[in-house]
């Protein structure tokens, strides 16, 4: 009897813990919302999101430069990363020999494991000087190197593993028979990939891209180190940018000394949380549906 009781008790307490872990997300949203209430009560949300002037000491909290900066940097990263990742995933899943595919996985995992500060150091040491001395002058624009482009390049490398990993899974979930049918009809390998495999895998690949995008959107340290952090709307990829995560990380020291500043920064984290939440929910829904179909 004692054993059964133990089993029941353990079950109940595990259930409570599991339920709590499901609540964590809602607790986070609620806590950040509660902390950003003071500023939301004073200023209309449209003025906060679309205002362009940022001066906490003057009581001006316009997030637009930061939102635009985040979008520019994320956009640059996605534009660089998506074609490279797609081609690589297709090569690894459709063309290359099996041993190469197995060999390619550990380096990709390692790439995913490198801390973002190390990417930041690499960006400062390698990418920024190249943009300043080579790429910038090539396009005839003066730049310090600390720019949208630098952030985009570093972020692109950081999201390679995310996109490749999920795309590979999605591609391998396409049934082998589908490929055989197409090949039997006389299509070349590339035609099969283009018309059959990719079409089948499209929703999953989109989900992979959105997950990569969401990772780029919230990435903090590496971006903070290479984008220059100037609170102005960027006009080209050679302009500096200031992203939302960088804003939060840079100002934690002074935020308690200026009224509403902490509230504004926690509102910024709430925005980040909600945006990445939407991206993640959408792509996870697509991926879990795919998984159910293949099982």
């Amino acid at each position: 009897m004692n054993r059964l009781l133990k089993d029941k008790l353990a079950g109940k307490s595990m259930m409570v813990l599991t339920g709590l872990s499901g609540l964590l997300l809602f607790v986070m949203i609620a806590a950040l919302y509660a902390k950003s209430r003071p500023i939301l009560a004073l200023k209309p949300i449209s003025q906060l999101l679309l205002g362009t002037s940022w001066g906490p000491s003057r009581g001006e909290f316009g997030f637009l430069p930061f939102i635009a900066g985040t979008l520019w940097v994320t956009g640059a990263a996605v534009i660089i990363a998506v074609p490279l990742c797609l081609l690589t995933s297709i090569y690894l899943s459709e063309y290359c020999p099996r041993w190469l595919k197995e060999w390619a996985k550990p380096p990709i995992d390692l790439l995913a494991g490198i801390p973002s500060v190390v990417y930041g150091v690499w960006g400062v040491v390698v990418v920024v000087p190249i943009i300043k001395d080579r790429i910038g002058p090539w396009f005839g624009s003066f730049t310090t190197g600390y720019s949208v482009l630098a952030g985009g390049i570093v972020l692109a490398i950081m999201i390679f593993p995310v996109i490749i990993h999920i795309s590979l899974e999605v591609l391998s979930a396409v049934k082998f028979e589908t490929r055989e049918v197409s090949l039997a009809l006389g299509a070349t390998k590339w035609q099969t990939v283009k018309f059959v495999v990719l079409r089948k895998a499209l929703p999953g690949i989109l989900a992979a891209v959105v997950l990569g995008l969401s990772r780029a959107f919230g990435e903090t340290m590496a971006v903070l180190m290479v984008t220059g952090n100037v609170a102005r709307l960027p006009r080209s990829v050679f302009d500096p940018a200031y992203t939302l995560p960088a804003l939060i990380a840079n100002n934690y020291g002074e935020m308690l000394s200026i009224p509403l500043y902490d509230s504004a920064l926690l509102l910024a984290s709430l925005i980040l949380l909600l945006v990445t939440l939407v991206f993640n929910i959408l792509s996870q829904l697509v991926l879990s549906r795919l998984e159910r179909r293949t099982v």
Partner: protein
Amino acid sequence: MDGRRLEENFFKGLMILSSLVIFFSLVLILADILIKGLPAMNWAMITQSPKGGFYMGKQGGVLNAIVGSSVLAGGATVISFLLSLPVVLYLNVYLKRNSRFGAFIRFSLDVLWGIPSIVYGAFGFTLMLMFGLQASLLAGIIAVSLLIFPIMSRAMDEVVKMVPVELLETSYSLGATRLESGLKVVLRQALPGILTSVLIAFGRGIGDAASVIFTAGFSDYISFSLFRPVATLPLAIFYQLGTPFPEVQNRAYASSLILTMIIVLISVVTRVITRRFRGYIVK
């Protein structure tokens, strides 16, 4: 006919090219960190605390940050393991395979995995204010354990899910309860995978800066007190690189090398574990 072959070869070439670009970006990063970091490396870096503060300090090392990061990430890993284990057991042993509740929990953990670490930092910071804590080791541990909890539990869940149902049924038919079967059969069977999940989470915890920047603070000294600020390796790198002195910046390269080495080591150990223990699993 020839057009098709041309297109085939063109795209194949493009694919090989982009695979090489991605592969070489990894090689380039590791090589650059090595080239920049090695000249600045010395024994003092890993055996001493900084002399004269992290900002001006050109002497001494980053032992304070190495110890701080290990203690912080270690503590967070332990807490997160104590939370993950019951959740994973409950999901896989107590719940039915197609349970709605289980699907919801897995979904929400997947979503939590994708939340940026700076948000965990900000959330940890609000918790800290709520409980009247200062930036301290304890606050850092809380923020990092929240950050790595979804990673660890989902990774463990994937491994435990692979344990064949027959094994569990055999255990039940011998009269074992769910708890006993879970702890003594399922866990033992999934042990290598669980170890790798723990290591992956530890690696993520030791390398993350954005979640500790508000919560753990920084300190030039080695301290094991839960209520004092503590140095972390990623933040040490960040601050060192931010100084205007080339000597201190060089130290940032050495620190990056140390951090990268730790991550590479973890990654190698993970592989060894998966390979080594494969033979012990009942299949």
